[in-house]
């Protein structure tokens, strides 16, 4: 089976790879590009830890056929920090103990970024809705919701 050439933008940088037919975007990002921030959770669309932004829209990379992202812009957690500084959402997650085992955190942060990019001051219910596709088995969600609200309100330590 021949490989298929694929080019897209990965966190603002052009990348070109060869993928096997049927490869999902998560495998392409982790194994071919070396971006280990999106995680493999369920492979079924149930957990959200593989969430990435495709042209600014939240998608599940494990359910995205890699070949469909040619020419599009992919954002992952790896591109979130700004130079040596954490993104305000990352800082808020640290400040509010919103990461425990950390496995859901990449997906939670991308879902939160997708929300704040289009709605900078969401209500608590809107935050809950925004992360409703992301499962966390450690925190009970409250610290995550509080962290996202804090980041939205600018109440984050520098």
């Amino acid at each position: 089976m021949s490989k298929v050439p694929l080019q897209f933008r990965h966190n603002g940088r052009d990348v070109a790879i060869f993928v096997d037919g049927g490869t999902n975007l998560l495998v392409a990002l982790r194994e071919l590009i070396g971006d280990m921030t999106p995680k493999f959770g369920c492979g079924q669309g149930g957990c959200g830890t593989c969430s990435v932004l495709i042209d600014g829209e939240l998608h599940l990379s494990c359910l995205t056929l890699a070949e469909t992202v040619g020419g599009r812009s992919i954002e992952t957690l790896d591109g979130m920090k700004q130079g040596p500084n954490l993104h305000p959402l990352q800082r808020a997650f640290a400040d509010h103990f919103a990461a425990q085992c950390g496995y859901c955190t990449p997906g939670m942060l991308m879902a939160a970024k997708a929300l704040l990019d289009r709605n900078p001051s969401p209500s608590r219910d809107e935050v809950i809705e925004a992360i409703s596709g992301n499962i966390c088995r450690c925190t009970g969600y409250e610290p995550i919701i509080n962290a996202i609200l804090a980041a939205a309100g600018g109440r984050v330590s520098a």
Partner: protein, 272 residues
């Protein structure tokens, strides 16, 4: 196992490729086909895609609306003229799934999924499909009954009549996890009122049979009557008739039969 991905510019070319290859599946939003590939489904060796703009078209201006098969639930939610379909669209997945999942794919979603299709069944939708022998329109009920045999056809669009009023159509998904979760039961009711009486009642149920089905006994209890407490009680007690629910992790068949009438009564009487 690697699969061959075939991308076509037009839906008709994709339909041709789909009908001529038994191992081909059409890739819409990816939430069903990619999931199957991730689980190692070796029955799929070809994935067919179409980049036809007609598949993502929404026509919501008139009394009869048409949604291209590739329209996502996020786009349904962004369309103000499709307000009556917002509740079913919002009940599906989280934001990422709604950005990916499509109206056409939902027709094939096995239980406990396929909630949007429950709403379409209550609204007497028509499914436009293209197979090896050309395009045709199929009533959604007929489409669902033969769903297992539809793999070789490509769904182009779904159309339905807009409910006469916002009160005439109601929808509810019973899930254990809020705001997201698989369906224990999904209910949709379209009850047009003519001269104070229900004319053309349609009740659709999800997770009460292998595919979405109509609750015909409940419909008969409502037809020609006014929507009062006695009528609702009669419909509720007939709700489980003709259903064949199953056991799964979300609920047993017995539980589903016991509660379907309770939830139908609450839905029709506007209770939470």
């Amino acid at each position: 196992m690697p699969v061959t991905v075939k991308t076509f510019a037009s839906a008709s070319e994709a339909a041709g490729a789909l009908s001529s290859d038994r191992t081909a599946r059409y890739l819409g939003g990816g939430t069903l086909v990619m999931r199957a590939l991730n689980e190692g489904d070796v029955s799929i060796s070809t994935v067919v895609r179409a980049q036809d703009q007609a598949l993502t078209r929404i026509d919501a201006s008139g009394p009869r609306i048409t949604l291209g098969a590739g329209v996502t639930f996020a786009r349904v939610l962004a369309e103000r003229d499709l307000g009556f379909l917002h509740a079913p669209a919002r009940s599906i997945g989280g934001p990422a799934v709604r950005n990916m999942g499509t109206v056409g794919g939902n027709l094939f979603a096995p239980t406990p999924y396929g909630d949007f299709t429950v709403a379409l069944l209550a609204l007497d939708a028509t499914v436009a499909v293209q197979g090896g022998f050309g395009a045709r329109d199929i009533p959604i009920e007929e489409f669902l009954q033969a769903r297992e045999r539809q793999a070789g056809t490509l769904v182009l669009s779904v159309s339905c009549t807009r409910p006469a009023s916002s009160e005439a159509f109601c929808y509810r998904k019973i899930a254990r996890i809020k705001p997201k979760g698989g369906s224990v039961i999904t209910l949709a009711a379209h009850l047009p009122i003519s001269g104070g009486r229900i004319a053309g009642a349609r009740i659709a149920l999800g997770s009460m049979a292998p595919t979405q089905i109509r609750a015909r006994a409940a419909e008969r209890a409502l037809e020609g009557r006014s929507l009062d407490a006695a009528t609702i009680a009669a419909a509720a007690s007939a709700a489980a008739e003709g259903t064949s629910p199953f056991d799964n992790a979300l609920g047993s068949a017995w539980y589903r039969r016991e509660i379907v009438g309770v939830h139908l009564r609450r839905l029709l009487s506007g209770q939470e």
